[in-house]
Symmetry: C2
Subunit: 92 residues, 2 copies
Amino acid sequence: MTTYNVESANIKLEDLPDWNFENNGIEKKFEFKNFSQALGFIVQVGVLAEKANHHPELYNVYNKVNIRLTTHDADGVTDKDFNLATNIEKLF
Amino acid sequence: MTTYNVESANIKLEDLPDWNFENNGIEKKFEFKNFSQALGFIVQVGVLAEKANHHPELYNVYNKVNIRLTTHDADGVTDKDFNLATNIEKLF
């Protein structure tokens, strides 16, 4: 699998608002009205992740959810990460 | 709200296997068979948290879920945290 460096990743990230390349992963911080909405989002992301067999790192506290995507097998960011990020954005 | 220090917390933690006092919070690392089971656990914890109006910090990657409980208003560990941890343990 081809991995992206910061320059090539940033070109792909132009289509993914508020996603950033950090430490060989792509990350976004989401904020919701309340915990219930954050939990709903986590479940939706989980369903997408299972479908893709590609899973995020996820951090949640109350109404905030941070998602980090990286491809562990490839030791970097691959199209799997961009595809999942694109599908996550379609949830909104 | 009374907060617990490491000594008083450790007495309470005797009833909560694998929970540890760390940085003014109590934490446990859970491991599941797969992501689907981890996601199910996250949802169950979320429902308990909403009922209690007390929310964990939660970190998930694939089959692993780390839960950290602290009472932000009290700037430390309170009975709210021990009660939620006790209810989480009852899920198993």
